[in-house]
Symmetry: C7
Subunit: 89 residues, 7 copies
């Protein structure tokens, strides 16, 4: 059987389309970051600027609020990433 | 003993048949995503569009309901994936 | 000392004998799948058709029952697999 | 400093001596298997025939008993293995 | 489809800009280090001088205080790193 | 900058000096083995003979006692090892 | 974009400066070792002599005391290491 070639773009190729744009990164141990993607590699290591870590909590009325901590520029090690939520056009 | 060649398709080859179709992805830490598969690679990194994360819960009558959170386009890092439920034809 | 050659078949070679047959897959986090093996690779990534996930529970009389959820075709990422129970001839 | 050559056999070489013999395999998450070793590779993936999974429990008198579940032929993924107890001659 | 080249800098390239500067490192198991970055590699192994480990705690008035333990020069193994907070210019 | 050569022996080289001698192996999930080292490789896979697993417990007087379970010959998969306590000369 | 060369020393290079000196090693699962560094490799596998494992505990007055267990010569598998605290000159 001949080995098929994939014509589909690789997931990592799609990150390129979000360069210089705001993305959300869901990380293990329930962390959530929002920042501007300025660099990445094939391990899903990410470099973000103007990043904030988002803490979601429920207030007394049951509404979900978020609090942000400004982090500035961070390098996230790829093996912590669960998924990256890309910028919508 | 001569090393056998596998005539069977590799699991990753079957993902190709689900490109542009809706799949379910079961992820570690009890996460469930539904989205349209638009890209993947050999690590099982996945690129999905029109994705929603599905939260299943039991209501008071004991029925299982689901709530969805729309995520848009996401890149899932492959090492989080337990299994991918392919589109049925 | 000269390095011995193994004449034994590799574990992965035995999976070939179960192609197109029903196997059981025990997966981390206490998951159990039953399905027809249609593809695999050296990472123990598996492609199964007509798969059901099996939930075992004890009823009031202490008997062990199982409930099945039909999943259809799935790709299991190999690093989740504890062991594969091959089809008996 | 010159790099020493190891004259010692590699651990994996010793598995060869146990081919076609009964071994015990202690696996993560407290699993114990007993079976006849018919295949292995350098990742410590193991192929066993006439395998039983052993459940040890303490009875009311404080004695340790075991219950066995027959599994037949299984492929154990090597990264689950803690240690293999080789056949004594 | 032709494979795109990434013009974006890799995340690891950005660490270079923080050499000889104070950075924060968030590490698994809730550890936080502050130190002067004097060396790193592609695994995100880091060499820091004048490092202190930071322990954050809430006092009786609900304010978050930190206590520091001076560690001097340390080598952090990269696989423990969640993210590195780079020096702001 | 020119890359330094390490004149220091590699940790694995020191295992060679303990061949045919009794060593202690501390393994994840709080396991402790004592046995005669007869083989090892670069992954720290170990082959031991006349091995016993050691269970330490505190008796009613607060003294720490140990109980041993004889295991004979075992192959320990290296990724379970925390440290190896070498034979003292 | 041209790929930058790093002029910074790699973290592993700094370990060389601590050869034959006393270092502290913080290991996963809350273990702490103190010993004389006599060998290491690129995985951060470490060979230490005159090692003691340090147990820290709080006494009744709230002071932190330590108890030491002498281990002699040990090989620590690198993937357990969180950080190495180098000898200060």
């Amino acid at each position: 059987m001949e080995r098929k070639r994939y014509n589909a773009k690789r997931p990592i190729d799609y990150l390129k389309d979000s360069l210089n744009q705001i993305i959300l990164i869901k990380v293990k141990r329930n962390r959530l970051f929002r920042g501007r993607l300025e660099g990445f590699d094939e391990h899903l290591n990410l470099y973000l600027e103007e990043t904030s870590q988002i803490f979601e909590f429920q207030d007394e009325s049951g509404n979900i609020n978020e609090e942000n901590e400004d982090l500035g520029s961070i390098v996230v090690r790829g093996d912590n990433v669960i998924f990256v939520n890309l910028a919508s056009d």
